[in-house]
């Protein structure tokens, strides 16, 4: 037996350390489709409870949309269940090419390549397009998948302070001697809900002959007037060299991702990106669903408009109730609690009141910045948000934090 007591003891010890630190993650099974109202089993083995979901990435409410489900059924019937092959052997169908063309048009880029997930897109893209002669300069709050992708790449890696354009310019000057420079950012930052200054970043990249990479996973489908993303909001469509995004959030919520951008860079990914070369791509059933998602979003802005109204309602309600929020205008609305235990206790109390929202604390967010990250959806009706707001206010009163400043909350609970 290779798995000895000694080996088991090492892992048991490590898992116990995670539990002792209070950062052990547990799944909470949902016994319904993803939607504004869900049925949850929490903790495992307890009675099922119907709650309002305030923490899904289902921004446009398309995860269970009847037209998307119908398209997925049709895709399953006409193109089968799986491909049993990577793309370049016999794993590419006409619908994969159709989706790549639709994404290119939707994002306003030159070309697109699908990946099994955006995690895979971010893991593969840097190694495919850069060498040790180059430099990657990333915002310090970029998503973990980008950090992993940069680790896999031989290019030099440096960082700039979050959204600090003067600091970014210093870094572009410092690395002026490098063959290629890539500035890397999220479009909307997933934990804080703030938006990258893409217009200023484009100007700096043009000045210093650098490429610009943007992860649009928390933007595609709903940020900007027609939902194209942060680049539309900032007026720089066509000027972003590399966009990565996911189909696992607003764009149907199933799975899959892509790299979209300059045609040479996309072609480099087809030739060299390892998650593309050595893994099956998105299953036909999902591709068929996303194709219809993009059709829906190209025809009408109704869903992103509703999301914008819901977001305004939710932010205004929480602000007037006296919560401390992270400023912004995206559907990611972090309610700041600062203390890790308070964030967990607050989340449990919300659940008792019929609202499902998760507390985040270090190391997912910086030390002393624990919060409940709420996410608004076009799938929410105003009555959902009113009920959720009532629950937040009730729990806020229970913990006596309404109308309190950051300093006052920290004085009461620590950070």
């Amino acid at each position: 037996m290779a798995y000895s007591d000694k080996i088991r003891g090492i892992y048991t010890g490590t898992l116990n350390e995670i539990k002792d630190k209070g950062i052990f993650k547990q799944e909470r099974p949902i016994h319904s489709a993803q939607a504004a109202d869900i049925v949850v089993e929490f903790p495992m083995g307890s009675d099922l409870k119907k709650v309002i979901n305030m923490c899904a990435n289902n921004y446009l409410g398309l995860s269970s949309h009847p037209d998307v489900i119908k398209a997925a059924h049709e895709g399953l019937d006409s193109r089968g269940y799986g491909m049993s092959s990577v793309r370049f052997i016999c794993g590419t169908q006409d619908i994969h090419k159709e989706l790549e063309a639709k994404v290119t048009k939707f994002l306003g880029t030159e070309d697109t390549i699908l990946f099994p997930s955006c995690m895979d897109a971010n893991a593969g893209v840097f190694e495919a397009i850069l060498t040790s002669e180059d430099v990657m300069i990333s915002d310090r709050l970029v998503h973990a998948s980008i950090i992993d992708g940069m680790r896999l790449c031989a290019a030099l890696h440096d960082t700039f302070k979050h959204s600090d354009m003067a600091h970014l310019e210093e870094k572009l000057q410092l690395h002026a001697d490098k063959r290629l420079k890539v500035v890397i950012t999220d479009g909307v930052f997933s934990m804080d809900g703030d938006t990258a200054k893409l217009d200023e970043m484009v100007a700096l990249c043009e000045k210093y002959d650098a490429m610009l990479f943007v992860d649009e996973s928390h933007s595609s489908g709903f940020i900007g007037k027609t939902g194209r993303g942060t680049h539309e909001k900032c007026g720089v469509v066509g000027k972003i060299d590399i966009i990565t995004t996911t189909f696992g959030k607003a764009l149907g919520g199933a799975s899959g991702g892509c790299v979209s951008g300059r045609k040479e860079l996309v072609e480099m990914c087809r030739q060299k990106a390892r998650p593309y070369l050595f893994s099956n791509t998105i299953a036909p059933v999902v591709v068929s669903g996303v194709n219809v998602v993009l059709d829906i979003l190209s025809k009408s802005t109704e869903r992103r408009d509703k999301l914008e109204k819901n977001t305004d309602f939710w932010r205004k309600g929480l602000t007037e109730a006296g919560f401390v929020l992270k400023e912004g205008d995206t559907p990611i609305v972090p309610v700041m609690l600062f203390n890790a235990k308070l964030s967990q206790d607050f989340s449990k109390a919300l659940y008792e009141e019929g609202v499902y929202a998760i507390g985040f604390f270090f190391p997912v967010v910086p030390q002393g910045q624990a919060r409940i990250r709420t996410q608004v959806s076009a799938g929410h009706e105003i009555h959902h948000l009113e009920k959720a707001l009532e629950a937040f206010i009730k729990v806020g009163k229970k913990f006596d934090i309404l109308g309190k400043t950051k300093q006052e909350i920290i004085a009461m609970y620590g950070n």
Binding site: L156, T159, L174
Partner: protein, 81 residues
């Protein structure tokens, strides 16, 4: 040497500290103290090389050698000679 220590300390404060109230000394642990991560060491190394017109070999730019301002200055001085 004293001047170099102040230059390096000021660079670290400007570059890495998010909290303006945090105080750093010449012996504050930068890497092991979580102030500078392994990615961010790159900019520090490049800053030192540009500022003092030296080249620090990658195998000498270890987390241990970069852990305090005093250690960093000692490393830079090796290559100034």
């Amino acid at each position: 040497m004293a001047e170099m220590k102040d230059i390096v300390l000021q660079y670290v404060i400007n570059e890495y500290l998010e909290d303006e109230d945090e105080v750093l000394s010449y012996d504050s642990p930068l890497i092991s103290g979580g102030i500078v991560d392994s990615f961010s060491m790159v900019s520090l190394k490049r800053f030192l090389e540009n500022k003092y017109k030296i080249s620090i070999p990658d195998d000498k730019a270890t987390p241990e050698a970069f852990d305090t301002v005093n250690k960093i200055c000692a490393l830079v001085n090796e290559y100034l000679k």
